[in-house]
């Protein structure tokens, strides 16, 4: 896979802003499956309800994708336009190594079709972002400044996880 050097857009998550409304999941499932089944969405909101912690889980379209590294069939590719990490269903044999190894829970298995599913950034117009009112999900240019934002968001993300593990206000 050749790395692109031009300006790319990226999906940035800020869990602190997430209100847990599941609009993103619902819109994602309607967009991709034409049915309302949040279960089959490419994004999921993981909640620790009694502590008030909500974390959107979605593929990070990594620069060095682990899913690609572990895929024995070389089915993981990058979309040259959107920079999204895509799984070629023709090549995929469904071994689920990518599901197992992705540290972000970015790849999933569709229970109904048994296919591997993951976020493809909706051809550069992510529907989840359009539905996320509090801007917990943003699709922004990968400038240095934004990279810093993303880093800050990732830090908050891990803070959140730590808080959740302590989860005892």
């Amino acid at each position: 896979m050749r790395r692109r050097l031009t300006l790319q857009k990226m999906l940035v998550i800020d869990p602190e802003k997430c209100t847990g409304c599941r609009l993103c999941e619902t819109a994602c499932s309607i967009h991709n499956e034409k049915t309302c089944e949040p279960e089959r969405a490419r994004i999921h909101i993981t909640k620790w309800e009694n502590e008030g912690i909500y974390i959107p889980i979605v593929c990070q379209q990594c620069d060095i994708p682990i899913c690609e590294t572990v895929c024995p069939m070389h089915a993981v590719k990058r979309d040259p336009e959107t920079h999204a990490v895509i799984i070629d269903s023709e090549l995929c044999v469904g071994c689920r190594l990518c599901v197992q190894f992705c540290p972000f829970g970015g790849v999933g298995v569709d229970d109904k079709t048994k296919r591997i599913i993951k976020c493809d950034l909706c051809n550069g117009e992510p529907v989840c972002v359009e539905f996320c009112q509090p801007e917990a999900l943003q699709y922004i240019n990968a400038t240095t400044l934004n990279m810093r934002k993303r880093r800050a968001a990732a830090e908050k993300f891990s803070e959140h996880l730590k808080k959740m593990l302590r989860a005892n206000y």
């Binding site: 602190e16 802003k17 997430c18 209100t19 847990g20 409304c21 599941r22 609009l23 619902t26 819109a27 309607i30 967009h31 034409k34 049915t35 309302c36 089944e37 949040p38 279960e39 993981t46 909640k47 309800e49 009694n50 502590e51 008030g52 909500y54 229970d111 109904k112 529907v127 359009e130 539905f131 009112q133 509090p134 005892n168 206000y169």
Partner: protein
């Protein structure tokens, strides 16, 4: 899985006495006449009960209904309607709850649950798609509403299970116990948790993974996006997103529209700490219901003090009144603690606060004394007494046991002298709003089918100072823009009642309708959403007719139970005591009996009911209600 399309969802019948479980699809005729949610529930309430059924007997029916649009990505489509005959009022029991339960129920293939009978031991209902079990609940009986949900999730090893639960108040048959889901959402009014408790039913847990198909998915997605933008661009929704319903306090307290010290004042002096900004130091962010872009509640953490550590959600404007103005407490922290307590115990915030405020006034007037209150100093602003009363009501201890049966029974026990001070209608407490300056609101609480209640109509548009031409366009007739005026307010209440009957039946959030702005979603948008979701076509007039049918069948239920014009009344004080504080539009105002009665006449006419408030034969015929009970489902 056969069930796919939205309107193919089923009704699940559970008889807890016999253990019999059955189901059937919602017939199309029921859909086209009542839509779903509240509409279908109210049809079933009228049909399943015989007159004078004891609300706490196994014969009462507990109805759970997802709205017709539950699951769509806009307007807070997670709403669920819970109905039964109310043990608090003896009239229609009905309460609407947000959160995530309704869509999950729908994902399991069901839109409605009809529960009759009673078990001998505590149980909970577990629905996993078609797998339905009545399970032993002895290990969760006694647990609070938060823990109960957590334990069920842990027992089933599934974080995505959504439950409707009761707390200690429901178990102890407190007449205004509520049904709860998540950390915040409550079906608070009319004592639905008491009915659930009377059936020994601790929880209804659901998990669904079936396919929910919409008629026009792509167009629906696009339209939902527009709806979200439409609502979030209103000033109201923006304020709600930031502060929640607490934002109303800033306005009503400054104006003088908020009852204080039960009903003695209409403004809380030194009430700055209750201003919504003060939630910020406790807030870790906001939270939304399913499909909601407004996210109107805070997630708050109390780190210090005797009640810390504590995590809670809210508080609503309602709790600011219940545990703030009405009992004359003026600290945000009191609200946060009390809000947490009522949520934990599963008891209606508004009814609880209303009763405690009433008791405080009785205590002040010497109608009750220390002996009656078990030594508790029920003095204005005594927050410890408020917390203690919440607990005593929940566990039916001493004086709490008297209040736990609600206003009607408590008045009988305490004595007729206490009645004058009770701010209740049909046996249910009013909100902490003071309607003496606003005749539209006053008519709305008087006529509401479920007792004193602002949410059946909430005719608030005349508060926005809009031009009368615009009001005429919305309401289809003259409505005075001056909120002190009585002119056209009958029309306003009637129209709003129809709109909200439909809103509760399609299962979207009232905050995302004309509740917040005159150009926010209403008939046209509802009609489009229903079409894109289900393929069913309704014109504005047809939807209004459905609203009229739903409201009329509720009225029929109440008539059958003996309610009539005499019950569509305001507490005496509204006519006798003028307001004393606030801006000039709110000061020195009381309701004129004569004008109120004229408004009531006009209101009955608009509904086509007779002058006693009973639906006429012709009106029933027009609404296809002349053969009820028709027992279709």
């Amino acid at each position: 899985m056969v069930i796919k399309m939205v309107w193919n969802r089923e009704i699940l019948y559970i008889n807890l006495s016999t253990g019999k479980i059955s189901s059937r699809t919602v017939p199309k005729i029921i859909r086209t006449r009542y839509l779903g949610g509240r509409g279908v529930n109210m049809y079933m309430l009228f049909n399943h009960l015989t007159p004078k059924t004891d609300p706490l007997s196994p014969d009462n029916v507990l109805l759970v209904g997802a709205g017709l649009l539950a699951g769509i990505p806009c307007l807070g489509s997670g709403r669920c309607d819970i109905g039964a005959k109310s043990p608090l009022t003896g009239a229609v029991g009905d309460s609407n709850i947000g959160g995530f339960f309704a869509p999950e129920l729908r994902f399991a293939g069901f839109d409605h649950i009809v529960i009759t009978g009673k078990t001998s031991k505590p149980v909970y209902l577990l629905i996993k798609n078609r797998d339905i079990q009545i399970k032993d609940a002895s290990h969760i009986w006694g647990q609070d509403t938060f823990e109960t949900q957590k334990i069920i999730r842990q027992d089933e090893d599934d974080e995505n299970i959504k439950s409707l639960v009761i707390g200690a108040a429901g178990e102890n048959l407190v007449k205004f116990a509520n049904v709860r889901t998540g950390m915040k959402n409550s079906a608070g009014r009319t004592g639905m948790g008491c009915v659930m408790g009377s059936k020994n039913l601790k929880a209804i847990a659901v998990r669904g993974t079936t396919t929910l198909e919409f008629t026009h998915p792509d167009e629906l997605l696009e339209y939902c996006k527009q709806m979200n933008t439409m609502i979030t661009s209103t000033r109201w929704a923006k304020a709600q997103s930031r502060w929640g319903t607490m934002i109303i306090y800033s306005n009503t307290n400054t104006t003088g529209l908020i009852r204080t010290k039960n009903f003695q004042l209409n403004q809380l002096e030194e009430g700055q700490d209750l201003e919504p900004e003060n939630i910020d130091k406790y807030s870790i962010g906001t939270s939304g219901c399913y499909g909601c872009a407004v996210h109107c509640r805070h997630r708050y953490v109390l780190k210090e003090g005797p009640y810390a550590p504590l995590y809670g959600e809210g508080p609503e404007y309602t709790s600011l009144g219940a545990f703030g103005t009405m009992v004359n407490c003026n600290k945000m922290e009191t609200i946060l603690v009390a809000n947490h307590l009522v949520n934990k115990y599963g008891v209606d915030t508004l009814e609880t606060g209303g009763l405690i405020a009433w008791a405080m006034e009785l205590y002040e007037k010497g109608i009750i004394n220390d002996k009656a209150t078990d030594g508790l100093k029920l003095e204005w602003g005594n927050e410890e007494a408020v917390y203690e009363m919440i607990r005593k009501i929940t566990y039916r201890e001493g004086f709490g046991n008297i209040l736990a049966d609600g206003f009607k029974a408590a008045i009988t026990k305490i004595g007729s002298e206490s009645k004058y001070y009770a701010i209740q209608i049909k046996g249910m407490s009013n909100l902490h709003s003071d309607e003496r300056p606003t005749p539209s609101f006053a008519l709305g609480i008087a006529t509401s089918t479920r007792g004193a209640d602002h949410l059946r109509s909430r005719p608030a548009i005349d508060m926005y100072g809009l031009p009368e031409e615009l009001l005429e366009e919305v309401y289809g007739g003259h409505v005075a823009s001056d909120y002190n005026s009585y002119d056209g307010k009958d029309r306003m209440v009637w129209w709003q009642e129809l709109l909200y009957a439909v809103t509760d039946s399609i299962g979207v959030c009232k905050f995302q309708t004309v509740f917040c702005a005159v150009h926010a979603p209403q008939w046209k948008e509802f009609s489009n959403l229903i079409n894109l979701t289900t393929g069913l076509n309704f014109s504005k007039n047809q939807l209004m007719e459905i609203g009229e049918r739903i409201y009329t069948i509720e009225r029929l239920f109440n008539s059958r139970e003996g309610f009539s014009r005499k019950d569509d009344n305001l507490p005496e004080r509204y006519f006798k005591e003028p307001t004393t504080l606030g801006l000039s539009a709110a000061r020195n105002k009381k309701i004129s009996m004569e004008k109120f009665n004229k408004m009531l006449d006009g209101y009955y006419k608009l509904h086509s009911w007779d002058s006693n408030g009973v639906p006429t034969r012709e009106s029933l015929k027009k609404l296809d209600l002349d053969h009820e009970p028709s027992n279709l489902v």
